[in-house]
């Protein structure tokens, strides 16, 4: 397993660096810029302030801004996307490149290979999230406002667990569908479909985005249970997979 871990870290490093750079770039540029623009609206449009004073009061609130713009928008979209990119290739990538025959005929258990791959894909998804979010904290230091660290860390934890769940979900799809584009497309359509379906009251639980910015205890529990179940399912699938 150690050898496969090493190989996976090396093989996916560039992808992780690009993802980190992208997320960090957004964190370091869009967030300060957006905060400045939105914050200035209060003084620039006094009439609107009069009408929506209560809401606008929050615009200058850094915590409100971080929650709504970073965790609720930029990170949410990219974390799901990166998690799918990182997870969807773990087995399908080997099948597509025809390296699966080499790897899976070696005296190493399929479960070890799967575990090594899913660990690396998860680490490489979580690290860009953590680094870029840390940059937001650095930016927050430049603004003379109190930061709600508890809320901040809760949202970061939610994002990390929900992204990990997405990686594991993508990994399961990767075992079943030997084509990364096809598997990724099906997964994206399924997630978007579930979010749309969640507009109906009885299917509210299907709202995938709530895992990232929902009720903390529920999000974490749902993510952890989901990860555990999907790992068990994936191990079952990989044991039966034919190459």
């Amino acid at each position: 397993m150690k050898a496969v871990l090493k190989k996976e870290f090396k093989e996916n490093l560039l992808k992780a660096v690009i993802e980190t750079a992208l997320l960090s770039g957004i964190a370091a540029t869009l967030i300060p810029f957006g905060y400045k623009i939105l914050g200035s609206l209060e003084t620039q449009i006094p009439m609107v302030m009069q009408k929506y004073g209560e809401l606008f009061a929050k615009l200058k609130d850094l915590n409100f801004f971080i929650v709504s713009q970073w965790f609720g928008k930029n990170l949410l979209e990219l974390a799901i996307l990166f998690a799918i990119i990182n997870g969807i290739g773990i087995i399908a990538g080997e099948s597509e490149r025809k390296t699966a025959i080499f790897l899976f005929s070696k005296p190493i258990s399929r479960r070890s290979i799967y575990c090594a791959k899913i660990i690396v894909a998860t680490v490489y998804t979580v690290v860009p999230i953590a680094i870029s979010t840390f940059l937001i904290l650095l930016f927050a230091k430049t603004v003379p406002q109190h930061i709600n660290y508890v809320l901040f860390l809760k949202l970061l934890a939610e994002s990390i667990f929900a992204s990990s769940l997405t990686v594991v979900l993508s990994g399961a799809v990767s075992i079943v569908i030997d084509d990364r584009i096809k598997g990724g497309f099906i997964l994206v359509v399924a997630i978007i479909g579930a979010v749309f379906l969640s507009k109906i009251k009885m299917f509210r639980f299907l709202n995938y985005t709530l895992l990232f910015t929902g009720d903390f205890a529920r999000s974490i529990t749902f993510s952890l249970v989901g990860i555990a179940l999907l790992v068990i399912l994936s191990i079952h699938l990989i044991d039966r997979k034919e190459f």
Binding site: K2, A3, V4, K6, K7, E11, R97, K98, T99, I101, F102, F104, S105, K106, P107, I108, S109, R110, D239, R240, K241, E242, F243
Partner: protein
């Protein structure tokens, strides 16, 4: 002891039956050629033995031990050169050898050095720059790196030029005679099989149709040219023949004595008894199987 024992292997791909109760053995220390036309089930069989296919019926034993699809420890004893495969192209030859050594727990420096003295692959170069033949050779390096007790080669010389192919087989013969390693290999190139195998297993449509030593098969196969001794002589109904100008051509594959006796008893005179090339034996046997199964 048998290095490989397959009993009643059945495997289907959706509606296609690839293996239909295939059974054969590979004795330890032998070089066994697995022969058959395209789609006979050779690659499927080799994939099952190597644990790449999991949904099949039947039993596989490696050195006496039954193996399940989830087993992997037994693969330490096997070196496998697959027919269709790829290696990590971003790695160099040396890097993949090191990676293979880490996975299998065997560095195999000596054997790699020996192989390098013969084939001299540019191991410092990225695999992406290798030709198909070079990749095939590298896969042989990887298969032998662990000093396996059993080597499985699926179309091993596909993509190799004739000189390298010759060196390849010289090496395999030399390696096996010095180490006592068992080899099971499949190939479309019949003279290749004849050159290195001591046993052959013919398979067709997922079934074994013959399992015999190469020498016995050659000794017991011949082309008879016969003519009627008397005008009442009738060709036995189970013999396939071609008739031309009163002479009959009859191929006896693996049953030369039986056919000869039958011909004599039926009132035919053997004019000539010609030895057959191994390739002729294979082709005629496959044709005869077609006729009999039709």
């Amino acid at each position: 002891m048998n290095a490989i024992e397959c009993k009643g292997l059945k495997k289907s791909y959706r509606t296609i039956e690839a293996l239909r109760g295939l059974s054969f053995t590979v004795p330890e220390g032998s070089i066994t050629g697995l022969l058959g036309p395209n789609g006979a089930g050779k690659t499927t069989t080799l994939k099952i033995i190597n644990g790449l296919l999991t949904q099949y019926k039947g039993e596989v034993r490696i050195f006496g031990q039954p193996v399940a699809p989830s087993d992997f420890e037994y693969r330490k004893k096997i070196g496998f050169v697959p027919e269709e495969f790829s290696l990590y192209e971003y790695m160099s030859g040396s890097e993949i050898i090191a990676f293979n050594g880490e996975i299998t727990g065997k560095e195999g420096k000596e054997i790699i050095k020996k192989l390098q003295s013969i084939f001299n692959l540019p191991l410092e170069r990225k695999i992406a720059t290798y030709s198909r033949g070079m990749k095939k050779l590298l896969s042989l390096y990887l298969a032998l790196q662990t000093n396996p007790r059993l080597i499985i080669l699926d179309e091993p010389t596909d993509g190799l030029d004739p000189i390298v192919r010759s060196k390849f087989f010289d090496f395999i013969i030399d390696y096996v005679s010095n180490s006592g390693t068992t080899v099971l290999f499949s190939s479309h190139i019949i003279p290749e099989v004849e050159r290195i195998s001591d046993r052959v297993v013919f398979i067709k449509n997922g079934k074994k149709i013959l399992e015999e030593s190469v020498d016995t098969l050659k000794e017991n196969s011949a082309l008879f040219i016969v003519k009627r001794e008397n005008s009442n002589a009738k060709m036995p109904p189970d013999l396939l023949y071609n008739e031309k100008d009163g002479y009959f051509e009859i191929f006896a594959i693996g049953n030369v004595k039986f056919v000869k006796e039958k011909l004599l008893l039926s009132g035919f005179e053997v004019v000539k008894e010609l030895p057959l090339l191994f390739e002729q034996i294979f082709v005629k046997f496959m044709e005869a199987y077609d006729e009999s199964s039709a």
